[in-house]
């Protein structure tokens, strides 16, 4: 009797011991802009999305133990670098995710490469992250400037918007967006009639909009972001640009911007995103859950990207099994496994770190067409995944051989 009990006890202990040895421990850091310009497109919404991803994954795989910390880079590369360094060195974070703001993202990407950890970008736009500045530790989810330019540019020309005028923010990002889109427009058979460059954070666009109006171009491309875009759109409505027959193409617009503008002002705006909350039932259900954490707000594609990125990362870690794995090998494994998550569907992580998924050209609905709060977009075109992003050989990424 005693022997049997003893054996049973031993077996139990062994079983517990081996269960612990099977645990996979992961620490994730959500680094975003919690308090300033990008707090709505990323920020606390990204944290909410991350929590959901972790909860969903660990529910099905209880042997994966995930710890999450969050940080605010306040749009300052200094602070972003400081936090990334501290997280990787001191707090033993394995993977950092999100980081809206290309400047900060580029900095964190360098840090991740130096420390051989992992960085999944969802928030930033710079296509150089998978181009000249690519490295083996960075994965770029959701979108980038090339995809935006290509998506909106090509699709607009195909649907009749073949003459363009650009309103460009006068700094590297704006220039890049303008150059990329102009190239796509011309390649698709359209013509660029003119452009005007405005300083960053301009309040009043009336003078630039006048020039755009007099150009009589069918499409006015807004190669700017954030407050500049919102002001351009608001004032374009004032000047009756859309009513006058010209289309506005927002080259970088998020659902939260549309909410800020309101449908009467934003109606008719054309934009490209890779995820929309109301596109299908899965997205709607996900959004409802997300909104429990963020009442009154609408999730953007960046939030969806955070969710999907974490899911794929955790899947990869599960496949690699317990134990220490350095950044490069995990990212390599991520690239070898095709992505498949409820939000973005099927896709893959390319050699240069770029994640491929379909993109969608949307048009903002008229107020009369909107049936319920959040009903912002109607779908104008779908761009398949292999066309949506820059071809592998055009990016000048050192990881791409040949």
């Amino acid at each position: 009797m005693k022997k049997a009990l003893g054996l049973a006890a031993l077996a139990a202990v062994l079983a517990c011991g081996s269960a612990n040895a099977q645990d996979i421990n992961v620490k994730i850091g959500v680094l975003s802009d919690m308090s300033s310009l990008y707090a709505d497109i990323g920020g606390p919404g990204s944290v909410a999305a991350a929590k959901m991803a972790i909860a969903d994954f660990t529910k099905d795989h209880p042997n994966v133990k995930v710890e999450m910390i969050t940080g605010d880079h306040q749009n300052k590369p200094d602070i972003g670098t400081q936090i990334a360094n501290q997280w990787f060195d001191v707090d033993k974070v394995d993977m950092i995710i999100d980081v809206p703001n290309s400047g900060v993202a580029l900095a964190v990407s360098q840090v991740a490469a130096q420390k051989n950890k992992i960085f999944i970008v969802s928030g930033a736009a710079a296509s150089t992250l998978t181009g000249e500045k690519c490295n083996a530790n960075t994965v770029h989810w959701t979108y980038d400037t090339w995809m935006l330019a290509n998506g909106t540019g090509k699709a607009m020309v195909k649907t009749g918007g073949d003459t363009w005028f650009f309103l460009t923010a006068d700094y590297a990002f704006g220039h890049a967006l303008e150059t990329d889109t102009a190239a796509v427009v011309e390649k698709s058979g359209g013509k660029v009639l003119g452009k005007v460059r405005h300083p960053l954070n301009t309040n009043d666009f009336s003078s630039f909009l006048l020039q755009a109006q007099s150009s009589k171009a069918k499409v006015i491309g807004l190669a700017n972001a954030g407050g500049d875009t919102i002001n351009s759109i608001k004032q374009a409505a004032e000047f009756g640009i859309v009513k006058g027959g010209q289309s506005l193409a927002g080259l970088l617009v998020f659902a939260s911007d549309v909410a800020a503008l309101g449908l009467p002002t934003a109606q008719g705006l054309v934009l490209t995103e890779t995820w929309y909350w109301d596109a299908n039932d899965t997205n709607r259900a996900w959004t409802k859950r997300w909104q429990q954490d963020r009442p009154g707000k609408w999730p953007t594609m960046i939030h969806a990207g955070v969710y999907a990125g974490i899911m794929h990362y955790l899947k990869t870690r599960l496949a690699m099994g317990p134990g220490e794995h350095d950044g490069k090998s995990v990212v390599a494994k991520m690239k070898s496994m095709p992505t498949d998550d409820p939000l973005f569907g099927k896709g893959e992580v390319r050699v240069d770190g770029r994640v491929i998924h379909p993109a969608y050209l949307f048009e903002v609905k008229k107020p009369s067409e909107s049936k319920y709060p959040g009903d912002f977009y109607k779908l104008r075109a779908t761009i398949p995944a292999n066309e949506a992003f820059r071809p592998l050989n055009e990016g000048k990424c050192p990881l791409v051989s040949g």
Binding site: S35, A39, P77, D78, Y171
Partner: protein, 322 residues
Amino acid sequence: MERVVDPLVNKPSAWRTRSELIGFLIMVLVLAVAPFLTYPLFLMQAMCFALFACAFNLLIGYVGLLSFGHALYFGWASYLSAHAAKVWGLSPELAILTGTATAAICGLVAGSLAIRRQGIYFAMITLALAQMMYFYALQAKLTGGEDGIQGVPRGRLFGLVDLHNEMAMYSVVLAIFLAGVLFIYRIIHSPFGEVLKAIRENEARAISLGYKTDRYKLVAFVLSATLAGVAGATKAIVLQLASLTDVNWPMSGEVVLMTLVGGLGTIFGPVVGAFVILLMQFKLAPIGEWVLVIQGGIFVACVLLFRRGIVGEIANKLHIRL
């Protein structure tokens, strides 16, 4: 600006410097031990900002000139230092020198323009010049615009010491910082420094005594800009990046805040202020939404209640000079 009424005016001069000396020794001790207790990268960044604040304090605390555009020198030195290290491949000490020289030149040009006016107009000119250089930085190829200059190599100091080693880098930064503070100390306690203080007290009287006050103010301005440049150039090497935040006017505002919180017109005030503000930014990063509000609150509290700043209050209570 209000300053600590000097309680030592009747004590022999040896007394005056003793407290400052003790303060300095304490600071050296703390900084020597700290990297073993806290994250060294944070300390290095804090020292760079502390030097920046000390440089700013030289102008406001001892000459009475409020520069609202000091980020110009800090930021552009940072850019040139980063560029020198990354693109020209200079070793770190040469890169820092390049950055410092840039700041000195900017300081000379800006100073000769701004010195002609006093008070709020002086502040506005410095702000205008800083804004112009910010917009230039936004567009210039050199600065990388919004992205900034990333991946700056730390290199080998004098071609020998690999600065990727955290402790080596820390020692270098500590040495630069202490040298900077000592230099400022030397300036303040020299005949030149006495003239500066005389100008702050009563410029008309100084002129009537025969001093060419404009020249003194310009020299002080250039020194302040140069030291701010040292801080910026070093920071670029430490953090391995230079960005627009370094030249933007909130940065100028932050250095004012650091000096105010620490104590205007004291040697150690800006150091303490810089550490406090950076610590706060760091610790509050998880609850990022409130950083702006808290910073504003500190500004308000300091102006209303703690005009002397942390170090100033301590010095006042203990009747010593810090």
